[in-house]
């Protein structure tokens, strides 16, 4: 599970940059994610031609154009299905899937869920800006209730979905969260996703400075973020805060935020993060929401389960092993025949 950093990197960031001009709005959080992804790939051993970036439609989904890899910019919401087809026939191609909160959770919510339950071996990055960027600012499934947008001048009514909870509910084997403006941590998290075998889901808080500026200020702003997010580290106690004096404990059936030193709480009382925790625990962590609780970032859960593309290929191999390579003539002839003599 350690990041594969060769002594002397084989590739540079430039090897992964395409010649296309980047067309996002100046100041968009997508830029820093793009840069983080290129850095992650440059740290690894794999040549650009062995990657494929697949996306749907949205500002975020323009991503593949900017990578000097194979890529598909598909249709709205359907990238998971495209990627599944790709991986089934080409398990050797390292596939990254880029989606947005609208693309992945509104129109594409079903493919998102089925991809995850199948555990197709790819990295799934959801750029969550809590808004529809490309269509100029309607609310999205992750928008907070009562959000006033172009399509909801009196406030939105839908209860927001939580991408992590949905993913966990669908049986995800890898669930993580990063923040666009926190590049070092984001790079670490994406590196971990890159190492995971199976669907590695990473929600990334992304600022849309045009239509939803500051939506994640609590997690982005250096001044406040340490009080609002908690960096989960496997095997380490769940500790956070500017002064590293706050932490999480379990109180019966729910999690609580406490201050070390208050009410006799010591560091030893804090929960220790275990990435291999049951889904039920991961679900509780994912439910921690600002402002009531600090929001977890980093790898929330990572477990092993056979991935779909491998299983498909194993069945084919098994069929060949047990029944021999298909013989076309035998197939066409079948078992019941008769002869006609001319």
């Amino acid at each position: 599970m350690s990041t594969a950093t060769p002594d002397k990197p084989k590739y540079t960031i430039k090897d992964f940059a395409s010649d296309q001009d980047v067309r996002w709005c100046p100041g968009c959080g997508d830029y820093s994610i793009l840069s983080a992804v290129k850095k992650v790939l440059a740290q690894r051993d794999r040549p650009p031609e062995e990657y494929c970036f697949i996306s749907g439609i949205g500002c975020s989904s323009r991503f593949p154009y900017y990578m000097n890899t194979y890529g598909l910019h598909t249709i709205h919401g359907r990238a998971p299905a495209v990627a599944t087809g790709m991986k089934i026939v080409r398990p050797d191609i390292e596939t990254w899937l880029i989606t947005g909160d609208g693309d992945g959770l509104s129109i594409g919510g079903n493919h998102f869920m089925h991809l995850i339950r199948r555990n197709v071996n790819l990295r799934l990055m959801l750029f969550n800006n809590r808004i529809y960027g490309l269509t100029k600012g309607q609310y999205s499934p992750t928008s907070e209730q009562n959000k006033r947008t172009k399509s909801t001048p009196m406030g939105s009514l839908d209860f927001p979905v939580d991408p992590l909870c949905l993913a966990i509910g669908a049986g995800a084997t890898f669930v993580a969260r990063g923040v666009d403006m926190h590049p070092k941590h984001l790079i670490e998290t994406l590196s971990r996703a890159a190492d995971h075998k199976g669907t590695a889901f990473v929600e990334i808080y992304q600022n849309c400075n045009i239509f939803n500026d500051g939506a994640f200020a609590h997690a982005q702003d250096r001044k406040v973020r340490s009080d609002n997010v908690i960096e989960l580290v496997h095997g380490e106690p769940m500790i956070y805060g500017a002064d590293l004096n706050r932490g999480i404990i379990r109180n019966g059936d729910h999690l609580e935020s406490v201050t070390i030193g208050e009410n006799g709480v010591t560091k030893d009382d804090l929960l220790v993060h275990d990435e291999t925790c049951p889904e039920t625990v991961a679900f509780s962590l994912a439910r921690m929401k600002y402002p009531d609780m600090p929001e977890p970032i980093g790898v929330i859960r990572a477990v092993d389960r056979p991935c779909y593309d491998d299983l498909v290929n194993e069945q084919v191999e098994h069929a060949v092993e047990t029944r021999g390579n298909g013989d076309l003539q035998k197939l066409l002839t079948g078992t019941e025949t008769w002869d006609v003599n001319g």
Partner: protein, 623 residues
């Protein structure tokens, strides 16, 4: 049971159409299939038409729960499952109610009289018992206590009630096999294989079958038996094949011959699901089947698999095509190869899921946003599904374009004898993937056929991105330039038009030089129109037949052919779809022959239309 046997007159017939009909649970599909196999193995030409309800097993005795299986077998080359039924076997009143109208006058009507209980009569909607009200006098009625006789036959085995009654379809089959002088052996073999883990069932079904046969032989009931001599088919090894089977084999053959793995992404839907089921059996050919979460995911998985380099196919029926439309457009824009199979069924909407129709031609040609052309090929018979599937795969991969393959419920479920092809004689499908490129890779540089390169992930230096936004000619970059857009639309169209250079010219049955009347068909009606044309010609009428397999592009000689005939009829199982294209393209005043009854044309109907058009007063259609 060993009584004296009266020798019967044995009549020779050239063709016979039999229909078995009963409750969904009565095993009529199996009975029909067994009779078909027996006739085929004996050397008859055969053609079949199963007909079953959309419900899995509707409550016993209802008319909507009736399941039927029609078989046409003959001593000559036939192409249809038969018009009027010569012999109808009904297992209950509902089956009689639904099917009687198709039995010809004086036809044989075999009835399981045990099922004509008051309750069943009521369920079938009979106010009076038709066995007693003289309403069947136009037919040769044979009332047999099938259920009782079966129960008696199985009594020795200690089987009783429901369990025993389940074998009654074999009893009925035995009677009919005897009546038509077909042997029991193929069915006995079948029973032994099918129930190999249920010795009880083997015994029961065998006994029932033989009991039926003995009944025919023994009872002073039938005054004659019938024989249909072997058909004069081209020499070769034959098997029976249904359209969906043939289609699946055609895809596998294309995979083998192109050296590509076959990827089939699909979501179950009647009547296309059996293609998925069939392909899933053949993983040892490297076939990968993917049951997607819906039709959109299914076609999208093909786009991914195609980009990855597989022969990619998705199959569905009309409602599924509607859902795939957006992604099919993406395939057109990306110029990636994959095949979309549409096994058409009755529409609109959920429509008639188990019935046949040809009403999706418009949909597959026009049902996408923007100018979004796709090649379309339609299979013409169950066995042609093999060839059409093979061709669709070939054209798709060689021309880098998604292709639609149309079949329908009638072709998919219908079966016919198939002269098994020699696998080694099936031509290879040549596919190239570039491995290097002069300078920067340009995914939209075209060859003389207008085809762009199929570069695969993993190839160093050929990294490229495809998408649904309009792309710049040659480089493939996103581009909004007005002139480029028009150019790209034309290039996409031209690429498809040029496929016409590679498909065989259309040929005419009858008089290719021209004449009075040309009947044009596509898809399933091929066989009926072909037979009708031959019959009319044998009556001395100047009728010819043009069948189109490729609907887009059409063979380049179609216009020329059409102009050689004074009159043109276009026969379709829809309200007139191909005809609009012909009229609009060639400004020819073609006349429609349409039928929208979830059933194929009968030869009689087509002949009548021809005669109408020729101005000949039709003979009255008997029954």
């Amino acid at each position: 049971m060993s009584t004296e046997v009266t020798p019967r007159r044995k009549e020779e017939l050239q063709e016979v159409t039999i229909r078995f009909a009963g409750d969904s649970g009565d095993g009529m599909q199996l009975t029909g299939t067994q009779f078909t196999n027996t006739a085929a193995v004996l050397g008859n030409d055969v053609s079949t038409l199963p007909d079953f309800p959309a419900e899995i097993r509707a409550p016993a005795g209802t008319t909507y729960g009736v399941s039927g299986f029609q078989i046409h077998f003959s001593s000559f080359d036939i192409h249809t499952p038969g018009d009027a039924v010569d012999a109808l076997v009904v297992m209950n009143p509902a089956a009689l109610k639904v099917n009687l109208e198709d039995l010809r006058e004086n036809g044989i009507l075999i009835i399981n009289e045990d099922s004509f209980t008051e309750q069943n009569l009521k369920l079938a909607g009979y106010a009076e018992n038709p066995l007693e009200d003289n309403s069947l006098t136009n037919y040769r009625v044979f009332r047999i206590p099938v259920t009782k006789a079966t129960l008696e036959a199985l009594e020795e085995l200690g089987m009783k009630g429901k369990d025993a009654a389940r074998s009654k379809n074999f009893y009925a089959l035995g009677v009919v096999l005897w009546l038509y002088n077909r042997p029991l052996e193929p069915t006995l073999d079948f029973i032994n294989k099918k129930f190999k883990n249920k010795p009880e069932a083997i015994k029961a079904n065998e006994r029932a079958l033989r009991a039926g046969w003995y009944f025919g032989e023994t009872a002073e009931f039938f005054t004659s038996t019938y024989d249909v001599p072997k058909a004069e088919l081209p020499a070769g090894q034959y098997r029976k094949i249904s359209g969906n089977e043939a289609l699946a084999y055609g895809l596998i053959a294309a995979a083998v011959k192109s050296g590509k793995p076959l990827f089939y992404g699909s979501y179950p839907i009647t009547p296309a699901s059996d293609i998925l089921h069939e392909l899933a059996k053949h993983k040892n050919f490297g076939v990968k089947t993917f049951q997607a979460e819906d039709e959109i995911a299914a076609v999208c998985s093909c786009i991914g698999a195609s980009f990855g380099g597989a022969l990619s196919v998705t199959g569905t029926s009309g409602p599924g095509i509607a859902l795939k439309a957006e992604a099919m457009g993406l395939g057109v824009m990306m110029e990636l190869p994959f095949v979309v199979v549409n096994v058409q069924r009755g529409g609109p909407s959920t429509g008639l899921p188990t019935k046949t129709e040809q009403s999706d031609l418009n949909q597959v040609l026009y049902g996408r946003n923007g100018e979004c052309p796709m090649p379309v090929i339609a299979a013409k018979s169950p066995s042609d599904c093999f060839h059409a599937a093979f061709e669709a795969c070939k054209i798709s991969m060689q021309h880098m374009v998604p292709v639609v393959l149309l079949t329908d419920a009638y072709l998919a479920n219908g079966a016919e004898p198939w002269n098994i092809p020699d696998a080694s004689l099936i031509p290879e499908i040549e596919i190239e993937h570039p491995t290097e490129w002069d300078g920067e890779f340009t995914p939209y540089r075209r060859d003389e056929r207008g085809v762009r390169p199929w570069a695969l992930p993993g190839t160093p230096g050929l990294q490229h991105r495809l998408g649904g936004l309009e792309k710049k000619n040659i480089t493939g970059g996103v581009n909004y330039d007005p002139d480029n857009h028009e150019l790209m639309i034309k290039l996409r169209q031209e690429k498809i038009d040029k496929i016409a250079d590679e498909i065989p010219p259309a040929t005419v049955t009858g008089n290719p030089e021209g004449g009075e009347l040309l009947i044009v068909t596509w898809g399933g009606p091929f066989g009926t129109a072909f037979a009708a044309t031959n019959r009319q010609r044998s009556k001395g009428r100047d009728v010819s037949h043009l069948h189109l397999r490729w609907l887009n592009p059409m063979p380049s000689n179609v216009e020329e052919i059409l102009r050689r005939y004074k009159k043109v009829i276009v026969a379709e199982i829809n309200m007139g779809q191909l005809i609009n294209i012909i009229r609009s393209k060639f400004l020819i005043d073609a006349k429609p022959l349409n039928k929208m009854k979830g059933r194929p044309f009968t030869i009689t109907e087509v002949e009548a239309a021809m005669e109408r058009e020729l101005g000949i007063p039709s003979e009255p259609i008997s029954s």
